[in-house]
Protein backbone atom coordinates (compact mmCIF):
# COMPACT_ATOMS: atom_id res chain seq x y z
CA UNK A 1 0.00 0.00 0.00
CA UNK A 2 2.86 2.37 0.80
CA UNK A 3 4.08 1.75 -2.75
CA UNK A 4 0.83 2.92 -4.27
CA UNK A 5 0.93 6.00 -2.07
CA UNK A 6 4.52 6.79 -3.00
CA UNK A 7 3.84 6.47 -6.72
CA UNK A 8 0.71 8.63 -6.46
CA UNK A 9 2.62 11.27 -4.53
CA UNK A 10 5.37 11.19 -7.15
CA UNK A 11 2.92 11.62 -10.02
CA UNK A 12 1.12 14.46 -8.23
CA UNK A 13 4.37 16.29 -7.51
CA UNK A 14 5.51 15.90 -11.12
CA UNK A 15 2.24 17.21 -12.49
CA UNK A 16 2.11 19.99 -9.92
CA UNK A 17 5.65 21.14 -10.65
CA UNK A 18 4.95 21.16 -14.39
CA UNK A 19 1.75 23.17 -13.90
CA UNK A 20 3.41 25.66 -11.54
CA UNK A 21 5.91 26.54 -14.25
CA UNK A 22 3.22 27.48 -16.78
CA UNK A 23 2.54 31.08 -17.69
CA UNK A 24 -1.20 31.24 -17.16
CA UNK A 25 -2.26 32.09 -13.62
CA UNK A 26 -5.04 29.51 -13.55
CA UNK A 27 -2.68 26.68 -14.43
CA UNK A 28 -0.24 27.82 -11.75
CA UNK A 29 -3.02 27.77 -9.18
CA UNK A 30 -4.07 24.27 -10.23
CA UNK A 31 -0.43 23.25 -9.93
CA UNK A 32 -0.26 24.50 -6.36
CA UNK A 33 -3.46 22.65 -5.63
CA UNK A 34 -1.91 19.41 -6.89
CA UNK A 35 1.25 20.03 -4.88
CA UNK A 36 -0.73 20.58 -1.70
CA UNK A 37 -2.63 17.34 -2.29
CA UNK A 38 0.66 15.53 -2.71
CA UNK A 39 1.82 16.82 0.68
CA UNK A 40 -1.52 15.83 2.20
CA UNK A 41 -0.97 12.29 0.94
CA UNK A 42 2.49 12.36 2.47
CA UNK A 43 0.98 13.09 5.88
CA UNK A 44 -1.45 10.20 5.46
CA UNK A 45 1.47 7.98 4.48
CA UNK A 46 3.44 9.06 7.56
CA UNK A 47 0.84 7.45 9.84
CA UNK A 48 0.59 4.27 7.81
CA UNK A 49 1.89 1.36 9.85
CA UNK A 50 1.43 -2.39 9.74
CA UNK A 51 -1.60 -3.89 8.07
CA UNK A 52 -3.43 -0.62 7.66
CA UNK A 53 -6.56 -1.55 9.60
CA UNK A 54 -8.83 1.37 10.47
CA UNK A 55 -8.28 2.33 14.10
CA UNK A 56 -11.75 1.44 15.39
CA UNK A 57 -11.69 -1.14 18.14
CA UNK A 58 -14.58 -3.56 18.48
CA UNK A 59 -14.89 -6.21 21.20
CA UNK A 60 -13.48 -9.08 19.12
CA UNK A 61 -10.76 -7.07 17.35
CA UNK A 62 -7.09 -7.98 17.31
CA UNK A 63 -5.39 -5.94 20.01
CA UNK A 64 -1.99 -5.38 18.39
CA UNK A 65 -0.87 -1.77 18.19
CA UNK A 66 1.07 -2.47 15.00
CA UNK A 67 -1.98 -3.53 13.03
CA UNK A 68 -3.80 -0.21 12.97
CA UNK A 69 -3.02 3.00 11.13
CA UNK A 70 -2.22 6.02 13.28
CA UNK A 71 -5.36 8.21 13.44
CA UNK A 72 -3.51 11.43 14.37
CA UNK A 73 -2.11 12.24 10.88
CA UNK A 74 -5.58 11.74 9.46
CA UNK A 75 -6.88 14.38 11.83
CA UNK A 76 -4.00 16.64 10.81
CA UNK A 77 -4.62 16.10 7.12
CA UNK A 78 -8.19 17.32 7.47
CA UNK A 79 -6.87 20.62 8.79
CA UNK A 80 -4.33 20.78 5.97
CA UNK A 81 -7.01 20.15 3.35
CA UNK A 82 -9.17 22.95 4.72
CA UNK A 83 -6.22 25.33 4.72
CA UNK A 84 -5.31 24.34 1.17
CA UNK A 85 -8.90 24.98 0.16
CA UNK A 86 -8.86 28.44 1.70
CA UNK A 87 -5.59 29.38 0.01
CA UNK A 88 -6.83 28.13 -3.37
CA UNK A 89 -10.05 30.09 -2.98
CA UNK A 90 -8.08 33.23 -2.15
CA UNK A 91 -5.76 32.71 -5.13
CA UNK A 92 -8.71 32.28 -7.48
CA UNK A 93 -10.24 35.55 -6.27
CA UNK A 94 -6.87 37.25 -6.69
CA UNK A 95 -6.55 35.85 -10.21
CA UNK A 96 -10.07 36.95 -11.09
CA UNK A 97 -9.36 40.47 -9.84
CA UNK A 98 -6.10 40.56 -11.75
CA UNK A 99 -7.89 39.45 -14.89
CA UNK A 100 -10.66 41.99 -14.56
CA UNK A 101 -8.21 44.76 -13.87
CA UNK A 102 -5.38 43.93 -16.24
CA UNK A 103 -7.28 41.97 -18.92
CA UNK A 104 -4.66 39.26 -18.90
CA UNK A 105 -3.99 36.05 -17.02
CA UNK A 106 -0.43 35.65 -18.22
CA UNK A 107 2.24 35.98 -15.50
CA UNK A 108 4.86 37.27 -17.95
CA UNK A 109 2.39 39.84 -19.24
CA UNK A 110 1.67 41.04 -15.68
CA UNK A 111 5.38 41.41 -15.05
CA UNK A 112 5.83 43.23 -18.38
CA UNK A 113 2.97 45.62 -17.61
CA UNK A 114 4.67 46.46 -14.38
CA UNK A 115 7.80 47.35 -16.33
Amino acid sequence: MTWYLSITIGILVTMGTYMVMQRRVLQVILGFSLLSHATNLMIVASGWVGDGLSPILSTNARLEPGAYVDPLPQAMVLTAIVIGFAVTAFLLVLALNAYLKLKTDDMDEIRRLKG
Binding site: M42, I43, G47, I83, V87
Partner: protein, 489 residues
Protein backbone atom coordinates in the same frame (compact mmCIF):
# COMPACT_ATOMS: atom_id res chain seq x y z
CA UNK B 1 -6.87 30.34 31.32
CA UNK B 2 -4.71 33.31 30.33
CA UNK B 3 -2.80 31.57 27.57
CA UNK B 4 -5.52 30.95 24.95
CA UNK B 5 -6.75 34.53 25.24
CA UNK B 6 -4.27 36.14 22.78
CA UNK B 7 -5.65 33.70 20.19
CA UNK B 8 -9.31 33.76 21.17
CA UNK B 9 -9.68 37.52 21.56
CA UNK B 10 -8.44 38.53 18.07
CA UNK B 11 -10.46 35.70 16.53
CA UNK B 12 -13.68 36.78 18.22
CA UNK B 13 -12.97 40.42 17.44
CA UNK B 14 -12.29 39.66 13.78
CA UNK B 15 -15.62 37.87 13.40
CA UNK B 16 -17.56 40.66 15.12
CA UNK B 17 -15.72 43.30 13.07
CA UNK B 18 -16.59 41.50 9.89
CA UNK B 19 -20.25 41.54 10.84
CA UNK B 20 -19.96 45.27 11.58
CA UNK B 21 -18.40 46.01 8.18
CA UNK B 22 -21.10 48.51 7.21
CA UNK B 23 -20.67 50.58 10.35
CA UNK B 24 -17.16 51.91 10.08
CA UNK B 25 -17.11 54.22 13.11
CA UNK B 26 -18.16 51.41 15.47
CA UNK B 27 -15.80 49.00 13.75
CA UNK B 28 -12.80 51.28 14.23
CA UNK B 29 -13.46 51.89 17.92
CA UNK B 30 -14.08 48.24 18.66
CA UNK B 31 -10.94 47.24 16.78
CA UNK B 32 -8.73 49.62 18.73
CA UNK B 33 -10.38 48.73 22.05
CA UNK B 34 -9.73 45.06 21.38
CA UNK B 35 -6.10 45.74 20.52
CA UNK B 36 -5.68 47.62 23.81
CA UNK B 37 -7.23 44.77 25.80
CA UNK B 38 -4.95 42.39 23.94
CA UNK B 39 -1.90 44.45 24.91
CA UNK B 40 -2.92 44.32 28.57
CA UNK B 41 -3.48 40.54 28.41
CA UNK B 42 -0.08 40.06 26.85
CA UNK B 43 1.51 42.22 29.54
CA UNK B 44 -0.03 39.89 32.14
CA UNK B 45 1.48 36.89 30.33
CA UNK B 46 4.87 38.61 30.24
CA UNK B 47 4.65 39.32 33.96
CA UNK B 48 3.72 35.71 34.69
CA UNK B 49 6.68 34.40 32.67
CA UNK B 50 9.17 36.91 34.08
CA UNK B 51 9.98 34.80 37.13
CA UNK B 52 11.15 31.93 34.95
CA UNK B 53 8.02 29.85 35.18
CA UNK B 54 6.85 28.27 31.91
CA UNK B 55 3.09 28.60 31.56
CA UNK B 56 1.30 25.64 29.99
CA UNK B 57 -2.24 25.24 28.78
CA UNK B 58 -3.54 21.98 27.36
CA UNK B 59 -6.20 22.58 24.71
CA UNK B 60 -9.15 20.23 25.14
CA UNK B 61 -7.41 18.61 28.15
CA UNK B 62 -5.72 15.94 26.03
CA UNK B 63 -2.85 14.15 27.78
CA UNK B 64 0.74 15.25 27.16
CA UNK B 65 2.07 14.28 23.73
CA UNK B 66 -1.25 14.03 21.88
CA UNK B 67 -3.15 17.26 22.22
CA UNK B 68 -2.20 20.80 21.30
CA UNK B 69 -0.31 22.47 24.12
CA UNK B 70 0.12 26.21 24.42
CA UNK B 71 3.26 27.21 26.25
CA UNK B 72 4.74 30.55 27.21
CA UNK B 73 8.28 31.04 28.39
CA UNK B 74 10.15 34.35 28.58
CA UNK B 75 10.85 34.39 24.83
CA UNK B 76 7.16 33.90 24.04
CA UNK B 77 6.23 36.70 26.45
CA UNK B 78 8.73 39.05 24.80
CA UNK B 79 7.59 38.24 21.28
CA UNK B 80 3.93 38.62 22.23
CA UNK B 81 4.60 42.13 23.52
CA UNK B 82 6.34 43.02 20.26
CA UNK B 83 3.42 41.71 18.22
CA UNK B 84 0.71 43.34 20.31
CA UNK B 85 2.42 46.75 20.53
CA UNK B 86 3.49 46.99 16.90
CA UNK B 87 0.27 45.68 15.35
CA UNK B 88 -1.63 48.07 17.64
CA UNK B 89 0.48 51.07 16.66
CA UNK B 90 0.21 50.20 12.97
CA UNK B 91 -3.56 49.89 13.15
CA UNK B 92 -3.82 53.30 14.80
CA UNK B 93 -1.48 54.68 12.14
CA UNK B 94 -3.72 53.22 9.44
CA UNK B 95 -6.60 55.37 10.71
CA UNK B 96 -4.72 58.37 9.43
CA UNK B 97 -3.10 56.72 6.43
CA UNK B 98 -6.25 55.39 4.82
CA UNK B 99 -8.85 57.92 3.86
CA UNK B 100 -12.56 57.34 4.46
CA UNK B 101 -13.48 55.37 1.36
CA UNK B 102 -10.46 53.11 0.98
CA UNK B 103 -11.94 49.68 1.66
CA UNK B 104 -11.31 50.00 5.36
CA UNK B 105 -14.11 47.60 6.18
CA UNK B 106 -11.93 44.65 5.16
CA UNK B 107 -8.84 46.03 6.84
CA UNK B 108 -9.83 45.65 10.50
CA UNK B 109 -11.05 42.02 10.43
CA UNK B 110 -7.97 41.00 8.45
CA UNK B 111 -5.59 42.69 10.86
CA UNK B 112 -7.16 40.80 13.76
CA UNK B 113 -6.92 37.47 11.93
CA UNK B 114 -3.29 38.27 11.26
CA UNK B 115 -2.69 39.12 14.91
CA UNK B 116 -4.34 35.85 15.92
CA UNK B 117 -1.98 33.93 13.62
CA UNK B 118 1.09 35.75 14.90
CA UNK B 119 0.28 35.38 18.58
CA UNK B 120 -0.78 31.77 18.10
CA UNK B 121 2.49 30.98 16.36
CA UNK B 122 4.39 32.41 19.33
CA UNK B 123 2.30 30.52 21.87
CA UNK B 124 1.98 27.07 20.42
CA UNK B 125 4.09 24.15 21.56
CA UNK B 126 3.04 21.90 18.72
CA UNK B 127 4.67 21.84 15.31
CA UNK B 128 1.55 21.11 13.30
CA UNK B 129 -0.34 23.79 15.17
CA UNK B 130 2.50 26.15 14.30
CA UNK B 131 1.77 25.38 10.65
CA UNK B 132 -1.91 26.18 11.16
CA UNK B 133 -1.15 29.53 12.80
CA UNK B 134 1.39 30.31 10.08
CA UNK B 135 -1.34 29.79 7.51
CA UNK B 136 -3.86 31.94 9.39
CA UNK B 137 -1.24 34.67 9.51
CA UNK B 138 -0.23 34.24 5.86
CA UNK B 139 -3.69 34.13 4.33
CA UNK B 140 -4.59 37.44 5.97
CA UNK B 141 -1.23 38.85 4.92
CA UNK B 142 -1.84 37.83 1.29
CA UNK B 143 -5.10 39.72 1.34
CA UNK B 144 -3.62 42.76 3.10
CA UNK B 145 -0.72 42.94 0.63
CA UNK B 146 -3.07 43.17 -2.34
CA UNK B 147 -5.05 45.81 -0.53
CA UNK B 148 -5.83 48.17 -3.41
CA UNK B 149 -5.59 45.58 -6.20
CA UNK B 150 -3.42 47.88 -8.29
CA UNK B 151 -0.89 46.52 -10.76
CA UNK B 152 2.16 46.63 -8.50
CA UNK B 153 0.35 45.10 -5.56
CA UNK B 154 -1.15 42.31 -7.63
CA UNK B 155 2.27 41.38 -8.91
CA UNK B 156 3.77 41.41 -5.41
CA UNK B 157 0.81 39.54 -3.96
CA UNK B 158 1.24 36.78 -6.56
CA UNK B 159 4.96 36.57 -5.88
CA UNK B 160 4.59 36.50 -2.10
CA UNK B 161 1.68 34.07 -2.21
CA UNK B 162 3.34 31.61 -4.58
CA UNK B 163 6.62 31.57 -2.66
CA UNK B 164 4.83 31.06 0.63
CA UNK B 165 2.62 28.30 -0.74
CA UNK B 166 5.76 26.42 -1.72
CA UNK B 167 7.18 27.06 1.76
CA UNK B 168 3.93 25.88 3.37
CA UNK B 169 3.93 22.70 1.28
CA UNK B 170 7.52 22.06 2.34
CA UNK B 171 6.53 22.70 5.97
CA UNK B 172 3.94 19.94 5.69
CA UNK B 173 6.48 17.65 4.03
CA UNK B 174 8.81 18.33 6.96
CA UNK B 175 6.07 17.62 9.51
CA UNK B 176 5.13 14.37 7.81
CA UNK B 177 8.78 13.26 7.61
CA UNK B 178 9.21 14.04 11.31
CA UNK B 179 6.02 12.20 12.19
CA UNK B 180 7.00 9.18 10.12
CA UNK B 181 10.27 8.93 12.01
CA UNK B 182 9.40 9.75 15.61
CA UNK B 183 5.60 9.73 15.70
CA UNK B 184 4.99 13.03 17.44
CA UNK B 185 4.57 16.71 16.65
CA UNK B 186 4.75 18.07 20.19
CA UNK B 187 7.89 20.20 20.46
CA UNK B 188 8.97 18.94 23.87
CA UNK B 189 8.35 15.33 22.89
CA UNK B 190 10.18 15.94 19.59
CA UNK B 191 13.13 17.34 21.48
CA UNK B 192 13.54 14.09 23.40
CA UNK B 193 12.77 11.68 20.57
CA UNK B 194 14.85 13.39 17.89
CA UNK B 195 17.86 13.32 20.21
CA UNK B 196 17.26 9.64 20.98
CA UNK B 197 17.06 8.76 17.30
CA UNK B 198 20.44 10.30 16.51
CA UNK B 199 21.44 11.98 13.25
CA UNK B 200 19.82 9.71 10.66
CA UNK B 201 20.18 10.89 7.04
CA UNK B 202 16.42 11.37 6.71
CA UNK B 203 16.35 13.45 9.90
CA UNK B 204 19.11 15.67 8.52
CA UNK B 205 16.99 16.22 5.40
CA UNK B 206 14.04 17.06 7.65
CA UNK B 207 16.11 19.61 9.56
CA UNK B 208 17.19 21.20 6.28
CA UNK B 209 13.58 21.40 5.11
CA UNK B 210 12.62 23.25 8.28
CA UNK B 211 15.57 25.58 7.84
CA UNK B 212 14.36 26.33 4.30
CA UNK B 213 10.78 26.93 5.41
CA UNK B 214 11.62 29.23 8.28
CA UNK B 215 14.26 31.18 6.38
CA UNK B 216 11.63 31.88 3.75
CA UNK B 217 9.49 33.49 6.46
CA UNK B 218 12.50 35.25 7.99
CA UNK B 219 13.76 36.42 4.55
CA UNK B 220 17.23 34.95 4.96
CA UNK B 221 19.49 34.52 1.92
CA UNK B 222 18.65 33.12 -0.69
CA UNK B 223 14.94 33.30 0.16
CA UNK B 224 14.94 37.04 0.77
CA UNK B 225 13.93 38.17 -2.71
CA UNK B 226 10.26 38.71 -1.92
CA UNK B 227 10.94 41.12 0.91
CA UNK B 228 11.97 44.41 -0.79
CA UNK B 229 8.97 44.58 -3.09
CA UNK B 230 6.56 43.34 -0.43
CA UNK B 231 7.71 46.08 1.95
CA UNK B 232 7.72 48.91 -0.52
CA UNK B 233 4.56 48.16 -2.51
CA UNK B 234 2.17 47.21 0.27
CA UNK B 235 0.34 49.89 2.29
CA UNK B 236 2.84 51.32 4.79
CA UNK B 237 1.26 49.94 7.95
CA UNK B 238 1.28 46.45 6.43
CA UNK B 239 4.91 46.88 5.45
CA UNK B 240 5.68 47.94 9.02
CA UNK B 241 3.96 44.84 10.43
CA UNK B 242 5.86 42.68 7.93
CA UNK B 243 9.20 44.17 8.90
CA UNK B 244 8.49 44.43 12.60
CA UNK B 245 6.64 41.24 13.39
CA UNK B 246 6.08 38.79 10.53
CA UNK B 247 9.73 38.18 9.73
CA UNK B 248 10.33 37.76 13.47
CA UNK B 249 7.89 34.84 13.44
CA UNK B 250 10.31 33.06 11.11
CA UNK B 251 13.23 34.00 13.35
CA UNK B 252 11.29 32.77 16.39
CA UNK B 253 10.67 29.40 14.70
CA UNK B 254 14.37 29.11 13.85
CA UNK B 255 15.24 29.80 17.51
CA UNK B 256 12.80 27.12 18.67
CA UNK B 257 14.24 24.60 16.20
CA UNK B 258 17.82 25.42 17.08
CA UNK B 259 17.35 25.39 20.85
CA UNK B 260 14.65 22.77 21.32
CA UNK B 261 14.11 20.33 18.47
CA UNK B 262 17.35 19.96 16.51
CA UNK B 263 19.91 20.02 19.29
CA UNK B 264 22.97 17.93 20.05
CA UNK B 265 24.42 16.42 16.86
CA UNK B 266 22.54 18.91 14.69
CA UNK B 267 24.72 21.71 16.00
CA UNK B 268 26.79 21.12 12.89
CA UNK B 269 24.18 23.23 11.11
CA UNK B 270 25.64 26.15 13.02
CA UNK B 271 28.16 26.70 10.22
CA UNK B 272 25.47 26.56 7.54
CA UNK B 273 23.28 29.05 9.40
CA UNK B 274 26.28 31.30 9.92
CA UNK B 275 27.10 31.30 6.20
CA UNK B 276 23.46 32.05 5.39
CA UNK B 277 23.45 34.84 7.96
CA UNK B 278 26.61 36.44 6.57
CA UNK B 279 25.32 36.22 2.99
CA UNK B 280 22.11 37.89 4.18
CA UNK B 281 24.05 40.65 5.93
CA UNK B 282 26.17 41.32 2.85
CA UNK B 283 23.28 41.19 0.39
CA UNK B 284 21.14 43.46 2.52
CA UNK B 285 23.88 46.03 3.08
CA UNK B 286 24.99 46.20 -0.56
CA UNK B 287 21.42 46.06 -1.84
CA UNK B 288 20.62 49.43 -0.29
CA UNK B 289 23.25 51.25 -2.30
CA UNK B 290 21.55 51.56 -5.73
CA UNK B 291 18.05 52.25 -4.36
CA UNK B 292 16.15 55.48 -4.79
CA UNK B 293 13.03 54.71 -2.83
CA UNK B 294 13.08 55.29 0.91
CA UNK B 295 10.92 52.24 1.54
CA UNK B 296 13.14 49.97 -0.55
CA UNK B 297 16.21 51.15 1.35
CA UNK B 298 14.46 50.34 4.62
CA UNK B 299 13.49 46.93 3.22
CA UNK B 300 17.06 46.05 2.27
CA UNK B 301 18.17 47.33 5.63
CA UNK B 302 15.67 44.89 7.19
CA UNK B 303 17.32 42.04 5.30
CA UNK B 304 20.67 43.25 6.57
CA UNK B 305 19.47 43.34 10.19
CA UNK B 306 17.80 39.93 9.91
CA UNK B 307 21.19 38.62 8.89
CA UNK B 308 22.64 40.01 12.12
CA UNK B 309 19.90 38.34 14.16
CA UNK B 310 20.47 34.99 12.42
CA UNK B 311 24.19 35.45 13.02
CA UNK B 312 23.52 35.77 16.75
CA UNK B 313 21.45 32.58 16.71
CA UNK B 314 24.07 30.71 14.70
CA UNK B 315 26.63 31.23 17.46
CA UNK B 316 24.50 28.80 19.54
CA UNK B 317 25.85 30.14 22.79
CA UNK B 318 24.11 31.92 25.68
CA UNK B 319 25.87 35.16 24.72
CA UNK B 320 24.94 34.87 21.05
CA UNK B 321 21.34 34.07 21.89
CA UNK B 322 21.22 37.01 24.31
CA UNK B 323 22.49 39.33 21.59
CA UNK B 324 19.97 37.90 19.11
CA UNK B 325 17.04 38.45 21.50
CA UNK B 326 18.26 41.98 22.22
CA UNK B 327 18.54 42.61 18.49
CA UNK B 328 15.06 41.23 17.79
CA UNK B 329 13.43 43.56 20.31
CA UNK B 330 15.37 46.60 19.12
CA UNK B 331 14.90 45.92 15.44
CA UNK B 332 11.18 45.22 15.71
CA UNK B 333 10.39 48.61 17.26
CA UNK B 334 12.98 50.50 15.26
CA UNK B 335 12.17 49.21 11.80
CA UNK B 336 8.41 49.40 12.19
CA UNK B 337 8.72 52.98 13.45
CA UNK B 338 10.92 53.87 10.48
CA UNK B 339 8.60 52.33 7.92
CA UNK B 340 5.69 54.17 9.51
CA UNK B 341 7.74 57.37 9.40
CA UNK B 342 8.39 56.71 5.72
CA UNK B 343 4.64 56.34 5.27
CA UNK B 344 4.08 59.58 7.14
CA UNK B 345 6.58 61.14 4.82
CA UNK B 346 4.73 59.70 1.85
CA UNK B 347 1.53 61.25 3.13
CA UNK B 348 3.28 64.62 3.56
CA UNK B 349 5.24 64.79 0.32
CA UNK B 350 3.32 62.31 -1.82
CA UNK B 351 6.41 60.31 -2.69
CA UNK B 352 8.92 57.77 -1.42
CA UNK B 353 11.49 58.80 -4.02
CA UNK B 354 14.51 60.29 -2.27
CA UNK B 355 15.24 62.67 -5.15
CA UNK B 356 11.84 64.29 -4.83
CA UNK B 357 12.02 64.68 -1.06
CA UNK B 358 15.02 66.98 -0.66
CA UNK B 359 14.97 69.62 2.05
CA UNK B 360 12.71 67.71 4.37
CA UNK B 361 14.60 69.02 7.38
CA UNK B 362 13.28 72.53 6.85
CA UNK B 363 9.84 71.62 5.58
CA UNK B 364 8.89 68.84 8.01
CA UNK B 365 11.26 69.12 10.95
CA UNK B 366 9.45 66.71 13.25
CA UNK B 367 9.11 63.87 10.73
CA UNK B 368 12.67 64.23 9.56
CA UNK B 369 13.99 64.20 13.12
CA UNK B 370 12.03 60.99 13.79
CA UNK B 371 13.71 59.50 10.73
CA UNK B 372 17.06 60.89 11.86
CA UNK B 373 16.80 59.07 15.19
CA UNK B 374 15.97 55.90 13.27
CA UNK B 375 18.83 56.24 10.82
CA UNK B 376 21.33 57.04 13.57
CA UNK B 377 20.16 53.99 15.46
CA UNK B 378 20.33 51.75 12.38
CA UNK B 379 23.82 53.03 11.68
CA UNK B 380 24.82 52.07 15.21
CA UNK B 381 25.53 55.41 16.84
CA UNK B 382 25.56 55.38 20.66
CA UNK B 383 23.57 55.90 22.83
CA UNK B 384 20.73 54.60 20.61
CA UNK B 385 19.65 50.98 20.71
CA UNK B 386 21.11 50.02 17.33
CA UNK B 387 24.58 50.59 18.69
CA UNK B 388 24.11 48.28 21.67
CA UNK B 389 22.45 45.61 19.53
CA UNK B 390 25.46 45.47 17.20
CA UNK B 391 27.91 45.85 20.07
CA UNK B 392 26.59 42.87 22.04
CA UNK B 393 26.44 40.76 18.88
CA UNK B 394 30.02 41.48 17.86
CA UNK B 395 31.14 40.98 21.45
CA UNK B 396 29.50 37.54 21.47
CA UNK B 397 31.08 36.68 18.12
CA UNK B 398 34.59 37.73 19.12
CA UNK B 399 34.41 36.09 22.54
CA UNK B 400 33.66 32.81 20.78
CA UNK B 401 36.61 33.13 18.45
CA UNK B 402 34.57 33.48 15.27
CA UNK B 403 36.94 36.22 14.12
CA UNK B 404 36.47 36.00 10.36
CA UNK B 405 32.66 35.88 10.46
CA UNK B 406 32.40 38.62 13.07
CA UNK B 407 34.89 40.68 11.07
CA UNK B 408 32.68 40.46 8.00
CA UNK B 409 29.67 41.47 10.11
CA UNK B 410 31.63 44.42 11.47
CA UNK B 411 32.71 45.47 7.97
CA UNK B 412 29.12 45.44 6.79
CA UNK B 413 28.31 47.62 9.80
CA UNK B 414 30.52 50.25 8.19
CA UNK B 415 28.55 49.93 4.94
CA UNK B 416 25.34 50.41 6.90
CA UNK B 417 26.82 53.54 8.46
CA UNK B 418 27.38 54.83 4.93
CA UNK B 419 23.97 54.03 3.51
CA UNK B 420 22.09 55.36 6.51
CA UNK B 421 23.85 58.69 6.38
CA UNK B 422 23.62 59.18 2.62
CA UNK B 423 19.93 58.26 2.67
CA UNK B 424 19.22 60.85 5.32
CA UNK B 425 21.34 63.39 3.55
CA UNK B 426 19.57 62.95 0.20
CA UNK B 427 16.22 63.11 1.91
CA UNK B 428 16.62 65.91 4.40
CA UNK B 429 19.34 68.25 3.23
CA UNK B 430 19.38 70.75 0.43
CA UNK B 431 16.45 72.37 -1.30
CA UNK B 432 13.83 71.49 -3.82
CA UNK B 433 11.58 68.51 -3.59
CA UNK B 434 7.83 68.33 -3.32
CA UNK B 435 5.62 70.61 -1.31
CA UNK B 436 4.73 69.31 2.12
CA UNK B 437 1.08 68.68 2.94
CA UNK B 438 -0.54 67.78 6.23
CA UNK B 439 -0.99 64.53 8.09
CA UNK B 440 -3.39 63.58 10.88
CA UNK B 441 -2.19 63.63 14.48
CA UNK B 442 -2.74 59.88 15.00
CA UNK B 443 -0.01 59.17 12.48
CA UNK B 444 2.50 61.34 14.34
CA UNK B 445 1.60 59.83 17.69
CA UNK B 446 1.90 56.19 16.60
CA UNK B 447 5.26 56.80 14.90
CA UNK B 448 6.53 58.68 17.96
CA UNK B 449 5.35 55.88 20.26
CA UNK B 450 7.41 53.31 18.37
CA UNK B 451 10.39 55.60 17.80
CA UNK B 452 10.56 56.38 21.52
CA UNK B 453 11.70 52.80 22.10
CA UNK B 454 14.85 53.47 20.05
CA UNK B 455 15.83 55.95 22.74
CA UNK B 456 14.42 54.01 25.70
CA UNK B 457 16.20 50.79 24.75
CA UNK B 458 19.34 52.79 24.06
CA UNK B 459 19.46 54.58 27.42
CA UNK B 460 18.05 51.52 29.20
CA UNK B 461 20.21 49.05 27.31
CA UNK B 462 21.50 47.50 30.53
CA UNK B 463 17.96 46.69 31.59
CA UNK B 464 17.02 45.14 28.26
CA UNK B 465 20.31 43.24 28.19
CA UNK B 466 19.61 41.74 31.61
CA UNK B 467 16.21 40.64 30.38
CA UNK B 468 17.73 39.14 27.19
CA UNK B 469 20.19 37.24 29.39
CA UNK B 470 17.27 35.76 31.31
CA UNK B 471 15.50 34.80 28.06
CA UNK B 472 18.63 33.18 26.70
CA UNK B 473 19.29 31.36 29.98
CA UNK B 474 15.91 29.71 29.63
CA UNK B 475 16.43 28.94 25.93
CA UNK B 476 19.77 27.22 26.42
CA UNK B 477 18.21 24.81 28.90
CA UNK B 478 15.60 22.90 26.86
CA UNK B 479 15.06 20.44 29.73
CA UNK B 480 13.11 23.17 31.56
CA UNK B 481 10.66 23.45 28.67
CA UNK B 482 10.35 19.67 28.37
CA UNK B 483 9.72 19.06 32.06
CA UNK B 484 7.18 21.91 32.19
CA UNK B 485 5.24 20.34 29.33
CA UNK B 486 5.45 16.84 30.75
CA UNK B 487 4.10 17.86 34.13
CA UNK B 488 1.29 19.92 32.61
CA UNK B 489 -2.10 19.54 34.18
Amino acid sequence: MLLPMPVVLPLATAVVLFLLRNRQAVQERLSIASLSVNLVLVLFILRATAGGEILIHRMGMWPFPYGIILAADRLTGTMLILAAAIVGACTIFAQGYLSRNERKEAFHPLIHFQLMGIQGAFLTGDLFNLFVFFEVMLISTYALLAFYYNLDQLEVAFKYTFLNIIASAMFLVGVSLLYAQVGTVNMADLSVKVSELGPQPLMVVTALIFLFVFSMKAALFPMHLWLPSAHSISPTHIGAILAGVLVKVGIYAIIRCATLIFIGPYEKFQTLLMVIALATIIWGALGTLPQNSLKRILAYSTINQLGYIAFGISLLSPLGMTAAVFYIVCHAFLKSSMLLAAGLNQKLTGTVDLEKMGGLMKKAPYTSSLLLVGFLSLAGIPPLNGFFAKFFLLQAGFSQGAYLATGIALLMGVVSLYYNFTTYQRMAWGDGGNEVGEAPLVMYSSVSFLAAFAVIFGLGAAWLYDWSLLVAAQLTRPELYISAMRSAL
